[in-house]
């Protein structure tokens, strides 16, 4: 079915397919061939992490049949939400080729603000949520201004922030080493007990598949109207169908236990939203441009400083939001909120998910894929009764592997002339 464009019939060809050197496959086989060609030339996208995830799940399932039980998967999904949300922010800073090492501290600060304002100052719960998210926003604004005004490397600013905001978190907590958040708070209910009823989950799956089909179809129609090549109907249908089946099966399986957690859905919606902003708006395009070449972006008239500030603000805001979710899920806040491995897991998730450390390459989806890998490892090792020491070592090894894949695919792109 696939064919290579030949000269001669140039006149009828779509405007983008007229070059005779261009490989162009049609229909399903064409789509598959194109995918294989891209992977060969080092454009791996999320392929390594998807394969990695399948391997990890298979191994743990063999070692302990409880791993893929509905109960465990529901837990897994809930564990993903908090750090996954923080990781979305990390994806953004990595796209600029920068880093934020303080997301753990900022999430802890936000949790502390929540605990103190809610249980000790007895603020209205909506107000406390706003206050704790704003704490993150302010932190990000400070980073953005320091970075753009003084040109201090983000690595150093956020390292200072890591200590500074940890101190602030302890100061806010004051003498309380730990505060319990009442179970009656809607935030805790949302994080722990709210699950989508099966009909709503199925409906959501259908909406997602329809949404994918609709956006593909609309793009194809607009491309045809513009005289450009357009995707084939069969590819669109197969894509949407596969998504529908995958989501439908997941919903059905999770529904045999508690179902799809509201907090997980919230996290996925945030990923979808960020993906939309990154790929379909001028702001998103500017983020990629700055990550690719700051000087070129500046000369193109992009207000580079605004992009940096907006990204640092978003990153810390996501960190604060993640801190809130974590606090709500544990129903407690303390000196250790946002501590230990929060920081590292959030950064590792973005990198494992396929966002390049070198800037300009990546996607919001890597936050979801990466955190799934990390939490799967953690959950699998817990089921095997292995302790934290082993978990850290294995997570470290996986992170190393992800970074090696990133560097190798960068090198492969370079040798294929696509660095």
């Amino acid at each position: 079915m696939s064919n290579t464009a030949t000269a001669g019939s140039q006149a009828e060809r779509a405007a983008d397919l007229q070059d005779e050197r261009l490989f162009h496959g049609e229909g399903l086989t064409g789509a598959v061939e194109g995918f294989i060609r891209r992977v060969r030339s080092g454009d791996l996208g999320s392929l390594p992490v998807v394969i990695g995830l399948i391997v990890i799940w298979a191994v743990f399932q063999i070692l302990n049949p409880a791993f893929l039980s509905a109960d465990n998967l529901v837990n897994l999904s809930l564990q993903c939400a908090a750090i996954g949300t923080i990781s979305i922010g990390i994806v953004l800073v990595l796209l600029l080729g920068e880093i934020d090492l303080s997301v753990g501290s900022v999430s802890g600060l936000s949790a502390a603000v929540l605990g103190v304002t809610l249980t000790q100052l007895h603020w209205n719960s909506v107000l406390t949520v706003i206050a704790s998210v704003l704490a993150g926003t302010v932190a990000g604004l400070i980073y953005g201004l320091l970075f753009t005004r003084f040109g201090v490397p983000s690595f150093v600013i956020t390292l200072a922030g890591l200590l500074g905001f940890l101190g602030l978190q302890l100061w806010v907590l004051g003498p309380n080493s730990s505060i319990n958040i009442p179970f009656s708070t809607w935030l805790v209910t949302f994080a722990q007990q709210m699950f989508l009823p099966p009909w709503a989950a199925y409906a959501l799956a259908a909406v997602a598949a329809l949404g994918l089909f609709w956006s593909d179809w609309r793009r194809s129609r607009r491309r045809r109207a513009a005289g450009l090549s357009s995707g084939s109907m069969s590819v669109m249908l197969v894509k949407a169908g596969l998504l529908l089946v995958a989501l439908g099966v997941s919903v059905w399986y999770l529904a045999t236990d508690r179902g799809v957690g509201a907090m997980f859905v919230f996290f996925v919606l945030l990923v979808v939203l960020m993906n939309f902003l990154l790929t379909r708006t001028r702001w998103g395009r500017a983020v990629f441009a700055v990550g690719g070449s700051v000087e070129a972006a500046r000369r193109a008239g992009i207000k580079v400083n605004r992009i940096y500030i907006s990204v640092f603000v978003l990153c810390s805001t996501f960190a604060a939001l993640g801190g809130l979710l974590a606090a709500a899920r544990l129903a407690s806040v303390g000196a250790s909120s946002g501590g230990t491995d929060t920081n590292l897991n959030a950064i590792a998730a973005a990198v494992i998910g396929g966002t390049s450390l070198f800037g300009g390459r990546g996607s919001a989806w890597s936050a979801l894929l990466g955190i799934l890998v990390i939490q799967s490892i953690s959950s699998g090792l817990t089921l095997l009764n292995l302790d934290a020491s082993i978990r850290f070592m294995i997570t470290g090894a996986v992170l190393l592997l992800a970074v090696i894949i990133d560097s190798l695919s960068r090198r492969s792109r370079a040798s294929h002339g696509q660095a």
Binding site: F288, G292, G301
Partner: protein, 272 residues
């Protein structure tokens, strides 16, 4: 050492230049890259800036593009004094620049690079419209680019240059500045760029062309401004000036490497 001012173009008194520079100076630490540069560009005029390597041509371009600030002097656009504080300000004035070092984002595809900073939106990015316009623009320049959806990193040097030139035509520029636009181009593409420059002139745009290729300069430019060691060293009308005169203004002497080579060749030829 400076050229006889009598050769310089008599300014058309009735027409006001679109862009007018007076006494522009710029230093980088110990190096004085530009000293008191004057330059006028009128609508519908192609001004070539020539000079040896390091004469300060690119520095002047970057000042106009808002990449560098100048230390002294004034810039007027349409007779109004302006300050070009940023690349965005330069573009807003209507100055489009093709830099010698191209300044493309390697990780983005051709369409994204062409429309960077001035994307077409219909609520969200209108990729189809941008792709369509990219193709028609690239066809106009006879560009040989197989796909506009590949990263510019995978294009050849000349293809990248074509993309950079095409980018300057997006939007409604009043002045187009081309810093060595044909340096990496093939024969057909060079001819297209020269045609393009002529079309820009016909459309009433002012063009500043920087080139080391005197044949190109003499083919399309109306006026030649010579820079030497960061100073104005002559301003000629192309019909009134010979190749040798431009060369001696560039090198600063009538007896120079280029003329000596030419003479040597002539005597050889006469001898044989």
């Amino acid at each position: 050492m400076t050229m006889d001012p009598a050769i310089a173009e008599p300014e058309p008194a009735t027409r006001q230049p679109v862009l007018s520079l007076r006494g522009i100076s710029k230093g980088f630490g110990a190096v004085q890259a530009l000293t008191e540069i004057d330059l006028d560009v009128h609508a519908g005029e192609v001004v070539a800036i020539v000079g040896d390597n390091g004469a300060g041509k690119s520095t002047l371009v970057k000042i106009l593009a808002g990449v560098y600030s100048h230390d002294a002097g004034s810039i007027a656009f349409d007779g109004q004094p302006v300050s070009i504080g940023s690349p965005a300000a330069s573009r807003e004035l209507g100055i489009a620049t093709v830099f010698q070092d191209l300044a493309l984002c390697d990780n983005l595809d051709v369409v994204s690079n062409l429309f960077l900073g001035r994307e077409i939106t219909k609520g969200t990015l209108d990729e189809e419209e941008m792709e369509k316009r990219s193709w028609s623009l690239l066809r106009q320049l006879s560009a040989r680019i197989p796909s506009v959806r590949i990263a510019v990193a995978s294009l050849s040097g000349g293809q990248r240059q074509t993309v950079a030139i095409a980018r300057s035509l997006i939007g409604e520029p009043r002045i187009v500045i081309l810093d060595e636009p044909t340096a990496a181009l093939g024969v057909a593409q060079t001819a297209e760029v020269l045609n393009l420059i002529e079309r820009l002139r016909e459309r009433g745009l002012g063009v500043i062309l920087i080139s080391h290729n005197m044949a190109d300069v003499q083919a399309v430019a109306d006026r030649v401004a010579v820079l030497r060691l960061g100073r104005n060293n002559g301003n000629f009308r192309v019909p009134d000036v010979s190749y040798e005169e431009i060369i001696s203004a560039i090198t600063g002497a009538t007896d120079n490497v280029v003329t000596r080579r030419a003479e040597a060749r002539n005597t050889e030829r006469n001898a044989s």
